[in-house]
C-alpha cells in the first residue's frame, strides 16, 4: 500500500492556504509536518483525512502496485485537536464503541481495550468516566483509540500536546511499532517527536495577496 498525494491545494473560507503539495509514502515511512502557527498544517491533515475537500488535487491509498485504489480517509486514523470521546461515558464504553464502529481494515487487527490502555500507560483506570481524567490522560486514551482498530495510515495533529516527557517516549514507541508493522504515519507538530528517519514537510503559509484572484 502506498499513500499518494498529488498537487494538493486547499482553501479555508475564501483564502487559499497552500498549493502544489505532493508526496508519496510507502509502508514504514513517516512524515513530520512543521511550520509556524497558522501555516496550514491542520488544514493539510484535514484534507488528507477527507474532512476538507481540496481545491485541487487528490489523495489516494494505492494497493497492489496501483491496480486498486481507495480514498485515503477509509484506511486512516485521524487524531485531531479534539479527542472524539464522550465525557459522559467511561473509557471502556468510549473505546469499545470506536472499536466496533470503526472495525478493522484488512491487513491487520486491532488490540483489545485493556491491552491498548496498558500500552498508553494507563491500564486499570478504564472504568472511569472520560470527563474525570486529566488533560494528558485524556490525550493518552485518544491515542489508545488508534490501537483498538487497525488502520494502516495514522494522521496525527499535534499528538503530544499536553503529554509529559515519559509519554512522549511512549508515543514514539507506539509510532515506531506501527511503522515496523508496515504502517504509515503523518504528524503535525511543534515538538520533536523522537521519530528518526522521518520525512519532513515544512509548511510556509501562503502570502495572501498572491491568491486573491478568485473573488
Amino acid at each position: 500500500m502506498r499513500l499518494i498525494a498529488e498537487d494538493l491545494a486547499a482553501r479555508r473560507g475564501e483564502d487559499l492556504i497552500f498549493v502544489n503539495v505532493s508526496f508519496q509514502l510507502t509502508p514504514g515511512e513517516a512524515m513530520v509536518l512543521t511550520g509556524r502557527n497558522g501555516s496550514g498544517k491542520s488544514t493539510l491533515l484535514r484534507v488528507l483525512a477527507g474532512l476538507l475537500r481540496p481545491e485541487k488535487g487528490s489523495v489516494e491509498a494505492v494497493f497492489r502496485d496501483g491496480r486498486e485504489s481507495r480514498p485515503a480517509r477509509e484506511v486512516s486514523h485521524y487524531l485531531g485537536h479534539r479527542n472524539a470521546m464522550k465525557q459522559e461515558l467511561t473509557v471502556i464504553e468510549n473505546l469499545g464503541f470506536w472499536q466496533s464502529f470503526l472495525g478493522d481494515v484488512e491487513g491487520g487487527e486491532g488490540r483489545s481495550i485493556e491491552e491498548a490502555a496498558d500500552m498508553v500507560g494507563l491500564g486499570g483506570i478504564t472504568h472511569l468516566p472520560f470527563g474525570y481524567l486529566s488533560a494528558g490522560q485524556q490525550r493518552r486514551f485518544a491515542m489508545a483509540k488508534l490501537l483498538v482498530a487497525h488502520r494502516p495510515v495514522w494522521i496525527l495533529d499535534e499528538p503530544t500536546a499536553a503529554l509529559d516527557a515519559s509519554a512522549d517516549e511512549m508515543f514514539a514507541g507506539l509510532v515506531h511499532e506501527h511503522l515496523a508493522n508496515g504502517g504509515i504515519a503523518i504528524a503535525a507538530t511543534h515538538q520533536p517527536l523522537g521519530l528518526k528517519d522521518a520525512k519532513a514537510l515544512v509548511m510556509k503559509g501562503f502570502a495572501y495577496h498572491e491568491t486573491e484572484e478568485m473573488a
Binding site: 475564501e14 495577496h209 486573491e212 478568485m214 473573488a215
Partner: protein
C-alpha cells in the same frame, strides 16, 4: 510553490463572475426599460377593462394577485435550479443566484398573501382561512424567511450556499403542494383557470391584462434578480479585499 500556474488555472473560473458582471451590465438597461413599459401598459389595461358580473370590480385585484402568486412559485423554482448548480457543479454564480433570489421571493409571496387577503375580505367575508392553498403559501413565505435567516447566520459564504442549497431542494416539495392543493383538497380558493392542460377557461376580457401583468412581473423579477446578483458579487469582492488588506497590514506590521 508555483503560484503562476495556480493563477492561470483559476483564471477560467474567475472569468465567469467577471463576464457575468459585464454582460448583465449591458442587458440591464434594456430589461429595465421593457419592464417599465409593460408595467405601465398592464396597469392601464387592468383599470380600463370591464368588471366581472359576479365578482364586480374586485376582479382587478386579480391582475396583481395572480402574477405575484405565480412569481412566488417561479422564484422558488429558480432557486431550486440554482441549488442544483451549487451542489452538482459547484458554480459560484449559482451560489450568488439563490442567495439573491430569496428576498425577492419573500417579497412576491408577501404581495400574493396581502392581495389575497384583501380580495378574500369582500369575496369570502374573511381575511384569512386556514385552507390548504393559503396555508401552503404561508409556509412558502416562512421558508423564504428561514432561508434568509440561514444565510445571515453564517458568514462563510460558500458553506452557507451549500447548506441553503440542500434546504431549498428539500423544501421544493412544497411547490407542487401549493400548485395542486386546490385540486387535492376542496378549498374556498379558485382552481387553476389559466395554466391548465386543456387550455385557459378564463374570459379573454380578463386574460389579456392578466397576461401582460404576468409578463411584466416576470421581467421585473429578472431585472431585480440580476441587480441583486451583481450586488452580491460586489459584496463578496469587497469582503475578500478587506480581509486581504487587513492581512497584508498584519504581515508588514
Amino acid at each position: 510553490m508555483n503560484t503562476t500556474s495556480l493563477v492561470i488555472s483559476k483564471f477560467s473560473e474567475l472569468a465567469n463572475p467577471t463576464r457575468f458582471l459585464a454582460l448583465s451590465g449591458r442587458i440591464l438597461p434594456w430589461l429595465g426599460g421593457l419592464t417599465a413599459l409593460l408595467l405601465v401598459l398592464g396597469l392601464y389595461m387592468s383599470f380600463t377593462t370591464e368588471g366581472d358580473y359576479q365578482q364586480g370590480e374586485t376582479v382587478r385585484i386579480m391582475y396583481v394577485h395572480v402574477p405575484a402568486a405565480w412569481l412566488s412559485m417561479m422564484c422558488y423554482s429558480v432557486m431550486a435550479i440554482s441549488a442544483i448548480g451549487t451542489l452538482v457543479w459547484r458554480h459560484p454564480l449559482a451560489d450568488v443566484s439563490h442567495k439573491a433570489a430569496a428576498p425577492l421571493g419573500a417579497a412576491f409571496t408577501l404581495i400574493a398573501l396581502v392581495t389575497g387577503s384583501l380580495w378574500g375580505k369582500p369575496m369570502w367575508g374573511t381575511w384569512w382561512v386556514w385552507d390548504a392553498r393559503l396555508t401552503s403559501v404561508f409556509v412558502l413565505f416562512l421558508m423564504y424567511l428561514g432561508l434568509i435567516a440561514l444565510n445571515r447566520a453564517m458568514d462563510d459564504a460558500p458553506r452557507a450556499a451549500r447548506l441553503s442549497a440542500v434546504l431549498i431542494l428539500v423544501g421544493f416539495v412544497n411547490i407542487p403542494i401549493i400548485k395542486f392543493s386546490v385540486e387535492w383538497w376542496n378549498t374556498l380558493h379558485q382552481p387553476a383557470s389559466v395554466i391548465r392542460l386543456d387550455g385557459p377557461t378564463i374570459d379573454p376580457e380578463f386574460l389579456w391584462p392578466l397576461l401582460v401583468m404576468a409578463i411584466a412581473f416576470t421581467l421585473l423579477f429578472f431585472t431585480l434578480h440580476l441587480m441583486a446578483m451583481r450586488n452580491e458579487i460586489w459584496r463578496r469582492r469587497i469582503a475578500t479585499q478587506r480581509r486581504m488588506a487587513a492581512r497584508m497590514a498584519g504581515r508588514e506590521g
